[in-house]
Symmetry: C2
Subunit: 379 residues, 2 copies
């Protein structure tokens, strides 16, 4: 049956209503919506006499209040099939559960900002980590984020203190794009200490939430939010995270979504590097140290990342005999050709030829009395 324009209006209204009352990531209700459609499920919720919190919330729902709140805060509500609906979150229909969150694709998403969520997430990476990050972790995150963002990759994160904030800042520091996925309603940003940063993300790109306005973040909402972060990136990068960390949860969602997980190693003396180091050791994440490594993971079939160049030393390319003569020099004093030849285990002809090469490379010089000395002894 092809839905008419009227059907579409009803479907959207029922989806908005359901998304306003259901806890994010509630798998059972999502299954019902998939099987019966949002209009049927919503009608049932309003008719049921069951003593359920969900039904009670449904009866209290007021569409006009929702419209007013959305208008007041500049929000729009996206549903599956909308041109702006992000392809990545549909993968959630086949993923999970992870921990207490059943999972499933979101019924709909509230967004705020000028960005197009679908376009911004065609090439994107989730970047997550500890709220109590180290200064080093922040610097590394800004570097990585700026490095991928300036190559057209949107950086998706959760707007929290620490690594999340550094991820958003890195992208904003260049002309790249960034998206913050919130665990509460978009009427106010959380945490309030990041308000200036998150308002800039909203004004230039996008804030995204599965939660209706006036809903404050909770533990389950943070966990359900993590699955959206994992789904909105083609890969998830963990920069710093302690053993017990929300980043672990995001990683579990990324794995459940068959997304690649990348992790930045850190000192074994830093508790903030325990999770990335452990993920790498156990083969759950690929070690990355620079933006090029992340870009390589996003385009596994494209050109590999350029390998950092090894610096060239003057002794590179010398033959073993030439190196032996070079090594036969004392650090400061001069030596005769015979002495050098003897210690280098080469004959005098070979030694003379080697000295010519060393002189051409600026490594050795003849002295006035016919002996030779080192110009500089690299080591």
């Amino acid at each position: 049956m092809t839905p008419s324009a009227g059907d579409e209006t009803l479907t959207r209204a029922a989806t908005l209503a359901l998304a306003s009352v259901v806890e994010p990531g509630s798998g059972q209700l999502l299954t019902q919506v998939r099987d019966y459609g949002p209009v049927e499920v919503w009608s049932f919720l309003l008719r049921t006499s069951a003593d359920s919190a969900l039904a009670e919330r449904a009866r209290r729902y007021r569409p006009a209040v929702m419209q007013r709140d959305m208008h007041r805060h500049g929000l729009r509500f996206l549903v599956p099939g909308d041109p702006e609906w992000p392809a990545g979150v549909d993968d959630l229909a086949w993923s999970g559960p992870v921990g207490d969150v059943t999972g499933g694709a979101p019924l709909g998403l509230w967004v705020a900002g000028p960005g197009n969520l679908r376009d911004l997430t065609t090439r994107s990476v989730a970047m997550v980590g500890s709220r109590s990050s180290t200064a080093t972790g922040d610097v590394v995150t800004v570097d990585l984020s700026a490095g991928v963002a300036e190559r057209g990759v949107t950086v998706v994160s959760g707007g929290a203190y620490g690594i999340d904030a550094a991820a958003h800042r890195g992208a904003l520091s260049t002309d790249g794009a960034t998206i913050a996925v919130m665990a509460g309603g978009l009427d106010e940003v959380y945490p309030s200490g990041n308000a200036p940063l998150l308002e800039r993300v909203r004004d230039e790109f996008l804030l995204v939430s599965e939660n209706p306005p006036n809903q404050r973040p909770s533990r389950v909402r943070f966990l359900a939010r993590n699955r959206l972060i994992a789904a909105l990136g083609q890969a998830t990068v963990v920069v710093e995270a302690q053993v017990r960390s929300g980043a672990r949860n995001t990683v579990a969602w990324a794995h459940s979504l068959q997304r690649q997980v990348l992790a930045v190693p850190g000192a074994v003396t830093s508790s903030q590097s325990e999770t990335p180091n452990q993920l790498i050791r156990e083969g759950e994440a690929t070690l990355v140290t620079c933006a090029a490594h992340i870009l390589e993971a996003l385009a596994p079939l494209g050109d590999p990342a350029p390998r950092p160049e090894t610096p060239t030393l003057p002794i590179d390319g010398l033959s073993p005999g030439q190196k032996a003569v070079h090594e036969a020099f004392p650090a400061r004093s001069a030596r005769s050709v015979d002495e050098l030849a003897y210690d280098a285990r080469v004959n005098v002809r070979e030694c003379m030829a080697a000295l010519t090469v060393l002189e051409m490379r600026g490594l050795a010089l003849p002295t006035d009395d016919g002996r030779w000395r080192l110009v500089r002894k690299p080591r």
Copy 2:
């Protein structure tokens, strides 16, 4: 032909003579010795009229001087087949070349110290890294070395400044064993700044060298020495190393010897962690962060290392409903059961049951007016 006692004396004398004049790791001469025996090769070297540095050195070799030097410095010379000959170095016959060093098993080894080289290397690990290590790298190395040494694993290293010295110190700090493999003759220890440390290694365990007394270290001898370090451990651990580092060379020998390579990750902002991070990323090394990981690598069929325990929080094991009620509490003020039930999306009966559990866990308390408040809100 079974060698007689006289043959054995000749063989040992010729091997000592050859080892005294040949550059370590010279593949061609090693092949000749394997094919014709040391007595034949030595005789040929003395007879040849060729203008070669090696022949010249052979003609200048004086057995009595060697015996005097060995006695003076308390050295003994081991040859293959000796009860103290270490099993690991024989694997070198089938490995290499790496870089400028052809490789091959050493003709013989000079050792100094009370240890038995064969016994000490039946369970051993090579630990190598940068001379210009960071303070963190030194601390980590001492920890790892002490951790494996106190479990009966001998720590093999090169006696250099930085990671090498920390590796020896870690083993000495416990009742473990350590061996230093030198790139020059054992008449004097190198570098002289490590003399007190290396003299202690010699007095309690062993110094080992492929080089005769009075031979100073050189670049090629350092490289040839690295292959012995790799061969004398069942695995090689790299703690810190810059892109251009001798540790890379030791790793190449370990790979050539089919030994496992382990690497300690580090901050991506530290140039000293570039090599270990890169080895891990490229699958050339397994990430290790603690002694248990190294022990696990040495005994892959034994018990796996104990996994670090995740700390337990009071909210662990709560049902989703109980967690939701817990989350519905404001941080400081009290709330009625009805209010909590509404916000937690549970009915009043479920909420009461959840509150009982939270009270038992010391998370929530009833107030005098019949409401409830949080005891402490973990995050």
